[in-house]
């Protein structure tokens, strides 16, 4: 997978959650172009084409960022703030996925411009369903914004 051909940027420090999410995406054949960042710093490097991802271009942003909130180093809220605070990245759809059902998290998430806020259901069936719906919606149904002057090509993840 080339870094430029990423559909989903999954940001989560928990390997378990990563595995479960991937499992769920896989069920719907949505897991082929997923880039996994294990903390906020890595996610920011990826998105802002810096550090290890300096060779990446802003021309091919992910179609969706699945962002966990509670992470070491840079937490999800800071990541969100940077994404939405930067002209180059602010149009990237970001979905906050978290175990927290704290209302204040939800509130500040929306304040920062998050596109969706999802509390991860404990029940795996439900979780899988949510992930599936998310993937289908943002990758298939939704028309992505025009990135850097040209429309992002919707590609069937496969």
């Amino acid at each position: 997978m080339k870094p430029d051909e990423v559909d989903i940027l999954l940001v989560d420090d928990s390997q378990d959650d990563v595995d479960l999410t991937l499992h769920a995406l896989r069920t719907e054949n949505l897991a082929n172009r997923v880039f996994i960042a294990r903390d906020g710093e890595e996610a920011l490097d990826f998105l802002f084409c810096s550090g290890p991802h300096a060779q990446r271009s802003f021309d091919h942003p992910p179609k969706l960022v699945l962002l966990d909130l509670k992470m070491p180093k840079v937490d999800g809220m800071q990541v969100l703030k940077q994404i939405k605070g930067d002209e180059r990245t602010k149009t990237i759809p970001v979905v906050l996925m978290t175990s927290s059902r704290e209302e204040r998290d939800m509130a500040s998430g929306y304040d920062l411009g998050v596109n969706s806020y999802i509390q991860k259901p404990v029940d795996f069936g439900e979780f899988r369903n949510v992930v599936k719906l998310l993937g289908l919606y943002w990758l298939v149904t939704n028309r992505p914004p025009i990135a850097n002057g040209k429309p992002a090509v919707a590609k069937q993840g496969r």
Partner: protein
């Protein structure tokens, strides 16, 4: 029968007149008749005697010659006198010689028997008079003549007389009556009219009538005139008297009224005197029993009241000193306890000048070497017209109070300090608690999701290769995860309710219930459930929280009626002690009332999980919400007969209603709620909440 003296004057006069004239006439007639009769009888006897002598003389020869025939002839000459019935001639020896009868029929033997030796007599007998006369010849008795005459003439005469007398009487009586009527008119009538007038005057007390005057000039006319004059005078006097009487009556009435008024005033005076006396006594006892010192002085500064408490507080009694000396005599000082109180500024001195004032002062004198603090308030004593007649000051010992106040201030300061400390501690604890809840929310759910997720994957991806026992164990793991998830969610919800800022607003309870019922519809699917929902009024409450209440209670009602062929759930309301009580009743399995205290405790369950699932947190949450609103919740039930949950909303905690405390996410959550039932992505967002609310039913 009326007696004569009761007769009217007119009648009396008439009767008198007639009686007098009648009597006189009667006597006169009687005398005349008697005289006539006597005269007539004498004449009759004389006539008969003459006739007898004539007969005797004519019969002497017949006697002498014994020739009765000629004697009889002589006798028969008597026929000329028709009243002579019988005549006879007797011989001197008494032998009948000759006889004559007027009626020959009477011839037979009716000869009168002549008494012996009586030769010159006459007698009256049986309306007859019989005269016997001797016949004398030459001085010798030659025989006797007897003549009997009837008295018819006499009787006739008598009758004639009587008739004449009666006629005379009648005429004269009529004349008398006529005269008396004339007299009556002249005398009696005026008297009668006078009497009538007098009667009217007497009986009707009418002095305006007058006796009619007569045209006469006699004494009666004078009397009537005098009477009338008298009447006029009486009338005049009567009028005057009447007037006087009226005046007097009026005066008397006035007098009576005045007397009553006087007596009333006297009574009132007595009463007010008594009242005054009582008041005085009362005032005295009030003054004596007062704890406050009370001192009054007149306008010259002379003390007129000095109650026992005043002596006790000031240590001294009333002294005859000028107001300039009060401060020094009683030892009055300003608050610095050393500067003597300016004499003209003492509250009592100011009151006497007409001012109302209060002051705190320190009192220390020979009797009070420790000194006391007093608080005095004084006001002038005024008369009704506002003239100041002195002043009164009330004061009390505030030494203790001042000490207490100092103490209280100190304690307060300490308390405030402590409260500030505790607040800081509490805030720290709160933060800690929030951090804990946050971590429970996040950190407890993550591993739970992992366990559940991987066991699911395990059973899905590798289940077919596993022995059935392993599959069953995996299933149990999943079930446990599910329950654990519910528990975490509900615990979080419970904690959140506690922190949730109460936002009260007028809420239509029926709308909330409708929403909840439609949310619970899947649970009622395929069951016979009869809902009976009363018309509830709007209530001042937090709509989000109250929805949770109905969600829990109605889910419970549905859950515990599950075994019923026909479930009946009723929501009603009633007023109790001015509070609205909302009741949710069902015909479910109910519970034993001896466990009612456990009902609302966290993790307390009255049913086995196998029979009715649940976490035991729902009712605790409900109770927390109701209490947050300031209401009460209780339940009434009978085992197997159903249960009824009642609650009031009361007055919500006002401390929670600050709007600035309301966080914006609450508003968003509220907006999101109605969409819960819709199968959209957003539903997933609320899954946690929904499962919490539905926890009692799942």
């Amino acid at each position: 029968m009326l007696r004569f003296r009761d007769y009217s004057i007119a009648k009396k006069l008439t009767s008198m007149n007639m009686l007098v004239s009648g009597t006189a006439l009667l006597l006169a007639v009687a005398a005349f008749v008697a005289h006539e009769l006597i005269t007539f009888r004498k004449t009759l006897v004389a006539n008969l005697s003459i006739q007898a002598q004539i007969v005797g003389s004519n019969s002497i020869s017949a006697l002498l010659f014994n020739d009765p025939g000629s004697a009889e002839k002589t006798l028969s000459a008597l026929e000329a006198a028709p009243h002579i019935e019988y005549a006879s001639i007797y011989t001197p020896d008494g032998q009948l010689f000759a006889a004559y009868w007027r009626d020959p029929g009477h011839r037979a033997g009716l000869l009168p028997s002549i008494p012996a030796a009586q030769t010159k007599i006459h007698w009256f007998e049986d309306r007859q008079i019989t005269v016997v006369r001797p016949i004398v010849f030459q001085g010798k008795p030659a025989g006797m003549v007897c003549i009997r005459s009837d008295l018819r003439e006499w009787t006739e005469r008598l009758q004639r007389y009587a008739a004449i007398a009666a006629g005379v009487m009648l005429v004269s009586l009529m004349a008398a009556w006529l005269t008396s009527s004339v007299i009556r008119r002249a005398i009696a009538d005026p008297i009668v009219r006078l009497a009538e007038t007098a009667r009217i005057v007497s009986s009707h007390k009418n002095y305006s009538v007058r006796a009619p005057l007569t045209s006469n000039r006699d004494e009666l006319a004078g009397l009537i005139a005098t009477f009338n004059e008298m009447l006029a005078q009486i009338q005049q006097r009567d009028t005057a008297l009447q007037f006087e009487i009226e005046e007097r009556t009026q005066a008397e009435e006035q007098l009576t009224g005045q007397a009553e008024e006087l007596s009333r005033q006297a009574k009132e005076l007595l009463r007010s005197q008594q009242a005054l006396e009582n008041q005085k006594l009362m005032l005295q006892s009030v003054l004596d029993s007062m704890e406050e010192g009370l001192v009054a002085a007149d306008e010259h500064g002379n003390f007129i009241i000095w109650n026992p408490a005043a002596i006790k507080i000031l240590g001294l009694g009333a002294a005859k000193i000028s107001s300039q000396e009060w401060s020094t005599h009683y030892g009055l000082f300003l608050a610095d306890t050393v500067t003597p109180f300016p004499p003209e500024q003492t509250p009592l001195a100011r009151a006497i000048r007409g001012e109302v004032s209060t002051a705190e002062m320190f009192v220390r004198n020979a009797e009070l070497d420790q000194g006391v603090w007093i608080e005095a308030s004084a006001s002038p004593l005024k008369e009704e017209n506002g003239t100041v007649r002195g002043g009164v000051v009330a004061f009390r010992d505030i030494t203790q109070r001042r000490a207490d106040e100092r103490e209280i201030r100190k304690l307060n300061e300490e308390l405030e300090e402590r409260v500030a400390q505790r607040t800081v501690q509490l805030e720290a604890a709160n933060h800690e608690l929030e951090a804990f809840t946050y971590s429970v929310s996040h950190d407890l759910r993550a591993p739970l999701r992992h366990i559940g997720g991987f066991s699911k994957i395990l059973s899905e991806d590798f289940g077919s290769g596993m022995p059935p026992e392993a599959q069953s164990h995996l299933q149990r793991i999943e079930d446990g995860v599910h329950r654990m998830g519910l528990l975490v969610d509900e615990l979080l919800n419970l904690a959140r309710v506690g922190r949730h800022a109460l936002r009260l607003q007028g809420t239509r309870l029926n709308s909330v219930i409708e929403e909840v019922v439609s949310l619970l519809q899947p649970e009622a699917e395929g069951r016979n459930v009869a809902w009976k929902i009363a018309d509830l009024p709007s209530a001042e409450c937090d709509p989000i929280l109250i929805k949770q209440v109905f969600q829990n209670l109605l889910a419970n009602a549905l859950k515990f009626t599950r075994t019923r062929e026909r479930a009946a759930i009723e929501i009603s309301q009633r007023q109790e002690n001015g509070e609205m009580v909302i009741a949710i009743g069902d015909n479910g399995v109910g519970f034993n009332m001896k466990y009612k205290d456990k009902l609302f405790g966290v993790f307390q369950r009255l049913h086995r999980a196998e029979d009715f699932e649940g976490t035991g947190i729902g009712l605790a949450t409900v109770q927390r919400i109701i209490r947050k609103h300031g209401g009460r919740i209780w339940a009434e039930a009978e085992l197997d007969k159903g249960a009824t949950f009642c609650f009031t909303l009361g007055a919500a905690e006002s401390t929670q209603v600050k709007l600035e405390d309301v966080k914006p996410e609450d508003a968003k959550l509220e907006n999101a709620k109605p969409d819960e039932a819709k199968p959209t992505v957003i539903r997933a967002i609320e899954v946690g909440t929904k499962s919490a609310a539905a926890g009692a039913q799942v």
